[in-house]
Amino acid sequence: MKARDIMTTDVITLPPDCLIGDLVRKLAEMKLQAFPVVDANGNLLGIVNIWRLLRHVLPPYIVSGDLVDVRFAPDLNQLHERLASMRNQPVSAIMNRKPPTVRPDHSVLECAALMLNTPKTVYLLPVVDESGRFLGIIAPLDLIKEIA
């Protein structure tokens, strides 16, 4: 079985100039956690997910792991300020420009291995053709649907 057999092709994508404020709204409304960012010609530009957004909203000393436990702080003013300041930026500013991708003829095993061995925050594998055109995505559930 190959990537093309399990990938989802009916995917909601975002243009690179979509604003982060709209991204947050879409994430909340659709209860999705990631979107492929695709240009007008259908080429994959990157992936934006909820973790990328959080990484940009949280202060760097928390993201870097220098300060892991912040339970003593009931709220952080700067969090609201940072979110507010980001609202009008395009998603292209925070998207992962080099996400791991697979080709349609990659085996399911290869897809599973790639997904497992990339950072935990990557859980959408875009499928692209040789020219970088976006064809679909593979989510973790797609890998094991067969069992059901």
Binding site: Y61, L67, F72, P74, L76
Partner: protein, 448 residues
């Protein structure tokens, strides 16, 4: 076998070969092109491999009291920090300053100094600096002055005790000076230096700091008690820490070396935290806690001790001691001042650990000369305090003067707060000169 003479390669002069190994190793360490532990271990390997030392002599050259004390304390701190106590102290101190930025700078500096006196400086700043960034963010002020003050505090606080800074650990281990001696002789100096340094810091940074009432309230809303993650671990850690400090204080009458006390404390705390855990969980926890030991530092020390043992055996340090004495005319007061100022200036430029490791046997070679000249033992100790004060305060002189400085700079840079060498030097070097000046007056007044 143990006392067999080494067979030096090609019959070369051990003096020249060992000096060459030391100079090249130190030069490469200073260049920071390669990890210092690797360089020290390679230097040590060359010292043994080329026949400057036998393996037995090399092993005898390693001060296992220093190694044991460092390792034991690293385990103790590695376990204790999981309780959240250090964050608690940092936030509590900030709140005690009622959110005033200068008050917070002073309180965080005090906490950093006190923690550095009992913990390793790098660990202290790793715990305090990130909380500082968060507090500065909430206060909407530039964190640089707070971080700068913490660097100063960590080196000044570390000067206060035998366990505060690696130079002191080495000096304490190589001499008869006890934990209490360090408290009696260096803590007052450390306190004066710390306090006096706050005056220029106020003029340079403090008077420009201001925050809005809302920002103060945000910091006052922090709940320091929520920082305590594990009350049971906190109680265990504080009990063991208390026992270890009591052990250091009573070490002399108990005939115990600091390494035994620190290692004993580490073993006891590890036993307590794994009590009641299943075998697999206990093993997992132990594995995790042992990874907290900074093995790079430990192996750096081991390599360094062997390199220094090489030059010591070959007689270089005796020669250097003779040169120093001829330079100072054999005058004890002049020699003490030379040791103080040289230690400070060199420690500001290079790593103070290799410097102190070399100076200890050198000073030991000079002591008999002063003893013979009738300098009383109490005054002789002044030479060790001069070395300790110079090496520790010297660390404040530049960004590369101490590991803690670089750690703070690294954290700051990662968070968009530039910490550049020259701007730091411009403020830090004169401050260091002030601190060493105070030390000179102190040493002169008490020992000369």
């Amino acid at each position: 076998m143990g006392d067999a003479s080494p067979h030096i390669i090609f019959g070369w002069s051990p003096l020249i070969l060992s000096s060459f190994i030391m100079v090249v190793s130190y030069a490469v360490i200073v260049s920071e092109r390669f990890n210092r532990a690797i360089v020290a271990l390679l230097g040590a390997t060359l010292a043994v491999g080329l026949g400057v030392l036998t393996q037995e002599q090399a092993i005898r050259g390693v001060d296992f009291n220093t190694i044991g004390l460092l390792t034991g304390m690293m385990v103790l701190v590695g376990v204790t920090k999981e309780s959240g106590i250090f964050q608690f102290l940092a936030i509590k101190s900030a709140k005690m300053a009622k959110g005033s930025p200068w008050g917070i700078l002073v309180m965080l500096s005090i906490i950093t100094a006190v923690l550095s006196a009992f913990l390793d400086n790098v660990t202290t700043v790793l715990l305090v600096a990130p909380v500082t960034l968060l507090i500065a963010d909430e206060l909407q002020i530039n964190p640089y002055p707070l971080l700068f003050a913490e660097i100063n505090a960590s080196n000044s606080g570390g000067t206060a005790t035998l366990i505060g800074d690696p130079p002191n650990i080495m000096i304490g281990s190589a001499t008869h000076l006890t934990f209490n001696d360090f408290i009696l002789h260096l803590s007052p100096l450390s306190l004066v230096v710390f306090t006096v340094t706050l005056v220029p810091l106020w003029f340079i940074y403090g008077r420009h700091l201001s925050v809005s009432p809302e920002a103060r309230e945000r910091v006052m809303a922090f709940n320091e008690y929520a920082a305590i993650r594990d009350v049971r671990l906190l109680k265990q850690s504080l009990t063991v820490f208390g026992l270890v400090i009591a052990g250091f204080v009573l070490a002399h009458p108990l005939h115990l070396e600091p390494a035994t006390i620190a290692m004993g404390g580490a073993a006891l705390l590890l036993l307590l935290v794994t009590l009641g855990a299943g075998q697999e969980e206990a093993s997992h926890k132990l594995h995790e806690f042992f990874t907290r030991v900074e093995w790079v530092t430990i192996f750096f020390f081991i390599g360094l001790f062997i390199i220094v043992a090489g030059v010591e055996h070959a007689g270089l340090l005796k020669l250097m001691a003779e040169w120093t004495l001829s330079f100072t005319g054999g005058d004890f007061a002049v020699t003490t001042m030379v040791v103080l100022w040289t230690s400070a200036i060199l420690s500001a430029i290079v790593d103070n650990i290799p410097f102190v490791a070399t100076m200890i046997p050198l000073i030991k070679d000079m002591l008999p000369v002063f003893e013979a000249a009738g300098v009383p033992p109490y005054q002789l100790e002044g030479l060790w305090w001069a070395l300790a004060a110079g090496a520790c305060f010297g660390g404040n002189g530049s960004l590369i003067g101490a590991s803690a400085n670089l750690i703070v700079a690294g954290i700051a840079e990662r968070n968009g707060v530039p910490f550049r060498f020259l701007p730091f030097l411009k403020v830090a070097f004169p401050l260091m000169l002030l601190q060493v000046g105070i030390s000179a007056v102190y040493v002169w007044w008490r020992y000369l």
